[in-house]
């Protein structure tokens, strides 16, 4: 192998390594997915900047091939309605270095958790559904179940706050 070829390979490897991306997951639980929609709208203005910097490890809304593997940041939208959702959330927490609660339902539990405030007659009306599909007794916000590192409140999420947090993590994880 000539020195020139070796130098080219080294250069390419260096270039590849410099293309380190932020490994992200985008997850939705009980909600209307308004913040997911808003995220796709943010891509209108930011896709050329963000796509070279983000690797979607898991994002059901964007791709079929999703991996349950380690990620730098998990963005989690929606409130938690059941034990099975709670288990999935805990799994995400284990896999993600940072977890960001996205939107009102994740941050406050409302409005998806409005059944928590139903008076007894309404509660009785929905009880058979709750039992049949194994709902939890109460709908919970994320920080009732896991440690949340950052929150983007709003219904839908506050766009500027989301951009601010994403930029913060791009810097923290040394993504250029």
């Amino acid at each position: 192998m000539t020195t020139a070829k070796l130098l080219i390979i080294c250069y390419n490897k260096t270039a590849f390594m410099s293309e380190k991306k932020l490994k992200v997951g985008w997850f939705s639980f009980t909600c209307c997915e308004d913040s997911t929609i808003l995220f796709t709208e943010l891509l209108n203005d930011h896709y050329q900047t963000w796509l070279p910097k983000l690797q979607f490890v898991h994002a059901r809304v964007l791709q079929t091939k999703n991996i349950w593997g380690p990620m730098d940041v998990a963005f989690v939208e929606g409130a938690i309605s059941s034990d099975s959702q709670a288990e999935t959330l805990k799994k995400i927490r284990q896999l993600a270095t940072k977890v960001v609660a996205i939107g009102a339902c994740a941050v406050t539990g409302r409005p998806s958790g409005q059944r928590n405030d139903f008076p007894p007659p309404l509660q009785q009306e929905i009880d058979s559904i709750l039992k049949k599909f194994n709902y939890g007794k109460k709908v919970k916000k994320l920080d009732e179940l896991i440690k949340v590192d950052a929150a983007v409140p709003g219904c839908p999420m506050n766009e500027q706050k989301f951009i601010e947090i994403l930029n913060l993590y791009l810097t923290e994880f040394a993504i250029n």
Binding site: S28, F29, T30, C31, C32, E33, D34, S35, T36, I37, L38, T40, E41, L43, N44, D45, Y47, L51, F56, R60, V61, L62, Q63, T64, K65, N66, S81, S82, Q85, P111, S112, Q114, R115, F118, L122, E125, I126, S128, I129, K132, F133, Y135, C155, P156
Partner: protein
């Protein structure tokens, strides 16, 4: 002949709005069951609205769905105004039309570019499109410019494209800034070539699953998503307020969403395909001219033509919006105060995915006594299962991964919205 037994399960469908799965059983070479399982957890909006003042209802019900929130918003406003026997001003009608065109452009574009287009290129995601390949590079650019134009139109008129804050019963809280209109006209004109490219792509797409069925949609003299009477493929059916009488509620014990057939038990489809099958002659003249070749494919029973129909509707909404914006200036107008009394109001509109029905019964003091909401995905649920059953029955010998992909493509063609579907479930079970 060798008889095949197999089960095919998809736990989590992807590139759709919300959470759903699919379970198929084949025994002795015959499809025994297809279960399209909407698995979003319910948020009980029809219970939650009871006892609330109607003023709070449009913004509450908009939260049923993120992507088509403005459809729920406008259907809810219509129901309240009908209950109050109120007719909105001409300007309010124009602003609502523009709000809606913004929704159609953005929402259809999201579905077609982000969810469906990767299937046409055998790619997993739009994000995997090769930016060094000219066509894929162009389509990536088109995706975000078309979506942005719809988003910006909704922001101009309604304040936001998701959960818009400005439309209320009686009018709009704020009037658009006329000085900004020229730039929006320019933006809409600029995306027309992209949408014509999209129409050509879907007109040339060879995906095919034809199953004759009934179709339901609102029809008016103009191609309005907001007004008209209920038609089926054969002609007029009923007034919008009487739609419910033509529908039969069906409980699917495995799904967190209600389903519907017609009263005569016939399944039906709603959505852009139904609208074009029933009312393509009413499209904007420029749309009809520039999409003439593609429009020859309608009426169609090919569910994949729902994608093409959506692409044509984007063009129609662009052309309508350019006309409205070019020929109107908007004046400040205080929203009217509605005089409420005990009454029932109906709001029926064509949501991006099909006919959306809101019924509200209110009391003398403006409190919601009870109501009902029927969403397009619930109405399409049985048609989806029938399409999948037919496809599987005719393709039993295909490998499972191929069947899985094709089933996902069929479901995606309906553009289902599970957030909408699971807003509510009637408390009545066929089995425990």
């Amino acid at each position: 002949m060798h008889l095949i037994d197999f089960n095919l399960n998809i736990d989590e469908l992807t590139k759709v709005e919300g959470a759903a799965g699919l379970e198929i059983q084949v025994k002795k070479g015959k499809v025994e069951s297809v279960k399209f399982k909407i698995s979003d957890y319910k948020r009980f909006y029809t219970q939650a609205m009871r006892g609330k003042n109607v003023a709070a209802i449009p913004q509450l019900l908009a939260r049923i769905c993120g992507t088509c929130s403005n459809a729920h918003l406008l259907a809810s406003i219509e129901a309240i105004e009908k209950a109050a026997n109120f007719t909105p001003s001409a300007q309010t009608k124009l602003l609502r039309a523009l709000t809606y065109h913004g929704l159609i452009i953005r929402d259809h574009a999201l579905h077609l570019y982000l969810f469906v287009l990767p299937d046409l290129f055998n790619l997993d995601s739009l994000l995997a499109f090769d930016q060094t390949e000219p066509e894929q590079h162009q389509l990536l650019h088109d995706t975000f410019s078309v979506k942005a134009a719809g988003n910006h139109l909704a922001m101009l008129v309604a304040g936001r494209s998701v959960h818009a804050p400005l439309p209320i019963p009686g009018g709009f809280i704020k009037t658009p800034d006329n000085a900004l209109i020229p730039q929006h006209i320019q933006e809409l004109k600029a995306i027309r070539p992209a949408v014509l490219r999209l129409i050509e792509i879907f007109a040339n797409c060879d995906f095919k699953l034809e199953r004759p069925t009934d179709y339901i949609a609102l029809k008016a003299n103009s191609y309005s998503y907001l007004e008209g009477e209920i038609y089926n493929q054969d002609g007029p059916l009923t007034a919008e307020k009487d739609l419910r009488q033509y529908l039969e509620h069906v409980v699917l014990p495995y799904s967190q969403a209600s389903a519907y057939t017609l009263k005569n038990k016939r399944p039906y489809r709603v959505g852009a395909l139904a609208r074009l099958n029933i009312n393509k002659e009413a499209l904007h003249p420029k749309t009809k001219s520039d999409a003439a070749k593609a429009l020859q494919l309608f009426p169609s029973n090919n569910i994949f033509h729902n994608n093409l129909a959506q692409a044509i509707e984007i063009l129609h909404s662009i052309d309508e919006s350019i006309d409205i914006l070019s020929s109107n200036t908007f004046s400040p107008e205080t929203p009217a105060q509605l005089k409420l009394s005990a009454a029932t109001g109906f709001g029926v509109i064509e949501a991006p995915r099909g006919t959306l029905y809101h019924r509200l019964t209110i009391t003398n003091d403006g409190t919601v006594q009870e109501g009902e909401i029927i969403v397009p995905t619930s109405q399409n649920q049985i048609a989806i299962e029938l399409d999948i059953a037919e496809f599987i029955q005719n393709n039993l010998h295909q490998p499972k991964d191929k069947l899985t992909l094709e089933c996902e493509k069929i479901i995606r063609a309906y553009d289902p919205c599970m957030s909408c579907g699971a807003h509510f479930l009637e408390v009545k079970w066929l089995e425990e």
